[in-house]
């Protein structure tokens, strides 16, 4: 069974990453995995863009990183949401929600 995959709209990757990191510190590979699982395989993270995005968010101070040992005993770079990142997540979620409502309204109108 092949799940229909969707391309991510522009600019949503940052939002998704922030959300994925919000729960607990997590490394890059796990972020990709988690996003794919949670979305039921619909959202496929372009892995090539994942790391540049992580680095960018780190630079902007939304994420902070630390090297930790994983359960498999290897050292990995774990990302954590900073306070600034949490605020950013909230605003981005809010604006996303507004966008969806708006788009939904338009689509609803088109139906009737």
């Amino acid at each position: 069974m092949a799940v229909q995959k969707s391309d991510l709209p522009q600019g949503t990757l940052d939002l998704l990453i922030l959300k994925a990191v919000a729960v607990e510190p997590v490394h890059g590979y796990a972020i990709a995995q988690r996003l794919q699982q949670v979305s039921g395989g619909v959202v496929r993270i372009p892995e090539g863009s994942l790391y540049p995005a992580l680095h960018r968010l780190e630079n902007r101070g939304f994420l902070s990183a630390a090297w930790k040992i994983t359960e498999t005993g290897r050292e990995a770079k774990f990302y954590r949401l900073t306070r600034k990142g949490r605020k950013q997540l909230e605003t981005e979620v809010a604006s996303w929600q507004r966008l969806i409502e708006g788009v939904g309204l338009i689509l609803g109108m088109a139906k009737s």
């Binding site: 590979y29 892995e47 540049p52 995005a53």
Partner: protein, 878 residues
Amino acid sequence: MNWWSRLWRRKRMEEQLEKELRFHLDQHASDLIARGHSPAQAQREARIALGGPEQVKERCRDARHTRWAEELFQDTRYALRSFRQKPGFVATTLLISALGIGATTVMFTLINSVLLRPLPFSEPGRIVVLHGFMEHLGEFSGFSYPDFQDIHHASRTLMVAGWTFTGGTISAPGEPEYVDGRLISADLFPVLSISPLYGRAFRTEEDRPGAAPVAMISYGLWQRRFAGDRSALGRKLVFDGKTYVVIAIAPPGFQLSGEADVFTPLGQSTDPRMQNRKAAFIKVVARLAPGVTLNQAQAEISLINRHLAQAYPKSDAGVRMLVRPFLQELVKDVHGTLWLLISAVGLVLFIACVNIASLFLTRAVSRERELAMRVALGAGRGRLVRQCVTESAVLALCGGVLGICAAAVSLHPFMALWPGTLPRANEIHMDWRVLCFGIGMSLLCGLFFGLTPALRVPMHGLEQALRGGGRTVTASSHRLHSPFVISEIALAFVLLVSAGMLGHTLLTLSSLNPGLNARNVLTARFALSPHVIADPSQIPSAWQDVLDRARLIPDVQFAALVDIVPMSEGEDVLDYRTTPNPPPPDQEPFALASSATPDYLNVMGIPLVHGRFFDEHDRDGSEPVVVVDENLAQHAFGRKDVVGENLWSQAMGPAPVQIIGVVGHVRHWGLAGDDQSRVHDQMYFPFAQVPVRLLRVFSSVMSIAIRTRTWPLNIVEPLQRELRGSSGDQALYEIRTMEQLVGASLARERFLSLLFGIFAGLALLLACIGVYGVLAYLTGQRTSEIGVRMAMGAGPRDVMWLVLRQSLKMILVGVALGTIAAFAAGPFLQHLVEGMRPVTAGTYAIVISLLILAALLASFVPARRASVIDPLKALRQE
């Protein structure tokens, strides 16, 4: 992690990035293996999912925002590496740019300190000076004391202060010593908004006749006489025979038209001129009242001016009062010179840059293939341009730093070379603005000489560039290089013409007849003993005694007294007329008036044209007489022989003075300055007929002039011994020979000629190096072409002509452009330097032939080298 530490820990960041991606790949692969893929397949899938690791890394690096800095670092390292391969090129470039930037920085330091930096007073822009202007006299800076007081009381827009020169012997405490002094009004310190280092400024009630005598002393005198002891305040100081109480120490470095040691209240002065509305000897400084503009102040002063002219037509009509910004007045003498010098230095720097740019260009052309290769391998154009510019900027910056160091070292030696004293000399030093200027100039130069080659980075015709290698088409090379040569030649031409103009002017001026025989004449100012000065009736015999004693010294031929030595500072200008009734006030002619003793003509060697000079019979009580110069005779009477005619002068009272002789004109304002002066006429009065009431004033300015049979400075010591006086408190000062004064009157012209000579020489040298370099390069490129030509039968002479023709074309275009530029620059130079002669055809002819000759000489070497090319070898190179 902040920006800086990201940049700093670049290496660790790289390792961590590598590690992070590796972890990702391994994790993904092991997940895939767990799902049943074979290890090899899993690895492959994981890698495909991530994309090219190098691309991902590159994008991560971009996200760091330190990209440009890293590249800058890389480029710098690359530049330094490439420099190591060409030490000769680097050394030449560094030397040239250090020289250029160093010289420019020195000039900028002077301009910055003297012209640009505000004066060390609060709100210096609001300080103004008052000047007078008369049609026949030009602008002058003196006002009479009554006029000054009227302006002081009447003006609402200005807070007005006045001062004037004085001087005298300090006879207690300590050894007698002659010092310069200033009489200052109580408002001077508030106007300048400065306060004494210790003590207090003069009060208004002290600025009046008969008030308690108080004095302020200079910081220097305080250190010298009182060893910097605070107890000096309140001590007694005997100055000019009068006892003062020291109430203040002036701030260090305080100057009023030069340094002075004693300051006393102007209002206390017993100088008889203080009551005379015609005696304009008070300098006026003022501060604009809050909210008042210069124009408003000028309007009010003009109004006061009109009232004064109506009330006192005899003395004040015909005078226009002008309000001038203080800084502008302070620096007006050097203003032009400084800008002139920085323009000249700027031209040299520009030629240096052009030279380096053409060196860089030669290098860039030979690197064309390397650059083409790099473009082919995917390097962006912007990136390559950036790299080229980084390379030149690094070089220029190093040169600039060297130049700034050189400037810091040579600043003070250069200031010592300056003719006369620079205004604000004690304020001259390098500051952050100079540093910014130096660094900025270097970067600009770097950009300039790096950008041209950088824009040569090939984008099209890569294939051709790669295949052709270094051997590109000669015609395009030529087109590329000739602008450099042409501009260098043109700029060097402008500097050479300027130097030629200055040299020509200097020659013309120094061959002018000064009107006197300056050989073996000693002049010195002399201060009589204060207790003689205190009793004016003793003064004439005291001066006679001075002359008698001076004549006793062996090798003294003649000795005389004069109030103003020609070509030294100072002037006394009087009105004159040929009829008893005064002409309209603003149409009176003026003449320079000197008071002298009978031997003056013999001392100075001024030719007597008609009649006689003074003798012992012209004394107080006998008929008042005057001797005039040829100019005055010509202007006033239209002929030379005017002996027996009468002259009248308002300054001398209603009685006429009889002309008893006519003498030659003396270039009193200096060889260069005399033609610029508005007053060309001269008259001489016998010192013996100076009214007794004015004797004190005259005695404070008198100089002694002596014609000797030997080197004049030899008699200074016996003279000093002989003239010390009975109480040992008389001193000679400002000792100079007439030859020194004549020489000094051309100091500015000589200094400018010397500097311009050096600049022009440098420019010529640089231009020749440029011509040589470019031609050698172009000829090198044409080796195989020349080989073919020779194989076809061209002789060495033809080949030489081929090369020389190429260079001659560039040189001629350069000279043509230079001539146009020099024509434009000529008036500018004439405007800035007094007495400057217009450029002559002779100067042009000399400069043109010199430049063409030098440039051809420079091109001769590569031409000769081309003419001995072995055609076989040249063709085999192909």
